[in-house]
């Protein structure tokens, strides 16, 4: 084996410039493949991270306005969701495993001592955290006990806490809203910042709301829905049930708004698979150009070295030795230079990630995270890509070398010896 390698590298060294030039095209192909796939991976995980913040099988229904006349009723009728609609839907669809009503009160005055802030408060059920998880920075989330006892608990966004408490400890303190005292039980992170708060839906109904049973949104998690078809079918059923009870056309898309995270998620994932496929195509294309180059050069090499092969055959080289020699030279060229391209590619990806990571860090609070930066920081080389690239390289090396090797092997020694 060692003998064989020495023999192999001796002949590669003999054609240094040519080996390097040919090898370069392969390095370039692999480099491109790595960078493209790395970037695609970055984009993918940036967007998917976004999804990961919410339960992927969640849906939400909002009230809307009719856009089709129905049953003698006019167009542009307001359809509101009621608590009774929620009860009806829960009865109808046992696959709804968790839900939360939501009622929003915008810009209401909250005071702590002499500090005040206009915060927007949402009344939600305890399971809301399952549907739209919020990061709790201090204290705790709202829970089922808050609901059952209709406790006057409130959780506040970071910005609200800053404005109402400055640097004081907010947990356990009291906030006055519309003259009613609420106890701060937690602080949560709201993406994009802003003055917000949340309290139990039942508490809101008993205290600061006007008490009507209209809700702004019905959020829920559905079990057993995993594909787009499933989710579309489920959406359609929901619309039909609501249409029947609230008297609007089941085909009227704007009478109620259904927001379907799973559908969005699946669609986005499909788009990314397509992008990924496209990138593989480009990458493989570039690599193919490199491989064709290697094959081409190997043909030239074989032609040029015809006489040498003749000599080797005359002094006792069996045809298999010649085949092995050409094939392994091609393989070694593609593999070594491919590896080089892979190293440079991963190096560049790592470097970009480091630089972008350093730049992206300070922007997290005040503005929307810069998606471009996030893509760059999320750029990564996963082992799967490296391994598949290696496999592609080995196969390409063999393909590139096969025809030339076969030609070299088939040559009659006497013809090879007399070749010019």
């Amino acid at each position: 084996m060692l003998n064989f390698l020495q023999e192999l590298f001796a002949s590669m060294r003999a054609n240094k410039l040519r080996t390097i030039l040919t090898g370069f095209s392969v390095s370039w192909g692999v480099f491109m493949l790595m960078v493209l796939l790395g970037a695609a991976g970055g984009l993918n995980s940036s967007v998917m991270d976004n999804f990961a913040q919410n339960a992927t099988n969640s849906m939400a229904i909002y009230g809307g306005n009719t856009s089709e006349p129905f049953d003698g009723l006019p167009v542009n009728r307001r359809i509101e969701l009621q608590e009774s609609d929620v009860d009806m839907l829960l009865n109808h669809f046992p696959q709804i495993s968790a839900y939360s009503r939501a009622k929003n009160m915008w810009g209401i005055e909250a005071t702590v001592g002499s500090e005040y802030a206009n915060i927007s408060v949402a009344g939600v059920d305890a399971d809301y955290v399952l549907i739209r998880p919020k990061k709790i920075l201090k204290g705790r989330a709202l829970n089922a006990l808050d609901d059952r006892l209709a406790r006057k608990s409130i959780i506040l966004s970071e910005a609200s806490v800053d404005q109402l408490f400055h640097n004081d400890e907010p947990i356990g303190q009291t906030v006055l809203i519309k003259g009613i005292s609420f106890t701060v039980v937690g602080v949560y992170e709201n993406e994009g910042g802003g003055l917000y708060g949340m309290m139990p839906y039942v508490t809101m109904q008993q205290t600061i709301s006007n008490g009507n049973t209209t809700i702004d949104a019905f959020n829920f998690i559905v079990d057993g829905v995993t594909t787009r078809q499933d989710s579309e079918a489920f959406q359609k059923q929901i619309r039909e049930v609501l249409a029947r009870s609230k008297r609007f056309s089941p085909t009227d898309q704007s009478a109620v708004w259904v927001w379907d995270r799973l559908g969005n998620y699946l669609q986005t994932r499909m788009i990314f698979s397509a992008i990924s496929l496209f990138i593989w195509l480009i990458g493989i294309g570039t690599l193919t150009a490199g491989v064709v180059g290697v094959g081409n050069i190997m043909i030239v090499t074989v032609r040029e070295r015809t006489k040498e092969f003749g000599i080797r055959k005359a002094i006792g080289a069996p045809p298999s030795a010649i085949l092995r020699m050409v094939l392994s030279e091609s393989l070694a060229t593609t593999f070594l230079f491919g590896l080089l391209g892979m190293l440079i590619g991963s190096g560049v990806l790592k470097l970009v990630q480091m630089i972008a990571g350093g730049m992206a860090a300070p922007t997290q609070q005040d503005e929307m995270p810069n998606i471009g930066m996030t893509i760059l920081t999320n750029m990564h080389v996963d082992l799967r890509i490296v391994l598949s690239a290696c496999a592609v390289l080995i196969i390409s090396g063999l393909i590139a070398g096969y025809l030339p090797a076969k030609r070299a092997m088939k040559m009659k020694p006497i013809e090879a010896l007399t070749a010019k």
């Binding site: 003749g310 006792g316 010896l417």
Partner: protein, 227 residues
Amino acid sequence: MLELQGIHKTYDNGALLHVLKGIDLAVEEGEFVSIMGASGSGKSTLLNIIGLLDNYDEGTYTLDGKLMKNLSEKEAALMRSRYIGFIFQSFNLINFKTALENVALPLYYQGVPRRKRNELAMEYLDKVGLKDWATHLPTELSGGQRQRVAIARALIARPKLVLADEPTGALDSTTSQEVIDLLREVNRTEGMTMIIVTHAPEIARQTDKIIHITDGLISHVEDLKHA
């Protein structure tokens, strides 16, 4: 050592060319034989057939008691590796390998380990008087030196049969004589059978037997040893 009976060879390069028209020849072990003839007479073709570099169309060829007919490339390579050493007019050294590596190459194909290979190669280079040139590339050597490297390469696997196609064709008369002296000495000390193709009478006259080929047939054989 070897025996040819009724060997025919025809080349087809568009027009048919009947090169060998029934050669009968026997060479004994340890003989030092030359083949002479005008160019195009078929002497090189005959040597190539004996060396298993080319096949023949008709007749029989036995080498060391074995019939050499319809050999696969692999079998032919094995026979060459075990029995035959070649010396060519144009030396046919591999240009990117040093003298030592060139000499050692036949042993590589016999699977001899590198260390042993290089030791033996050095020994043979010493025999042809080129020990100090071991690390030189063929392009750094004179014609006579290159041919001596080629001779060392032909001998290193200790073949029973050495075939030389115009070994002095590219050399001046002094170097030619040195090369022939070297071959003669190897023949005497190692007892290897040697067949030399040449068109130089002064070279041929130093062998044991001259086989004259005219137009694809052996016209006559001069036995110099017993003359």
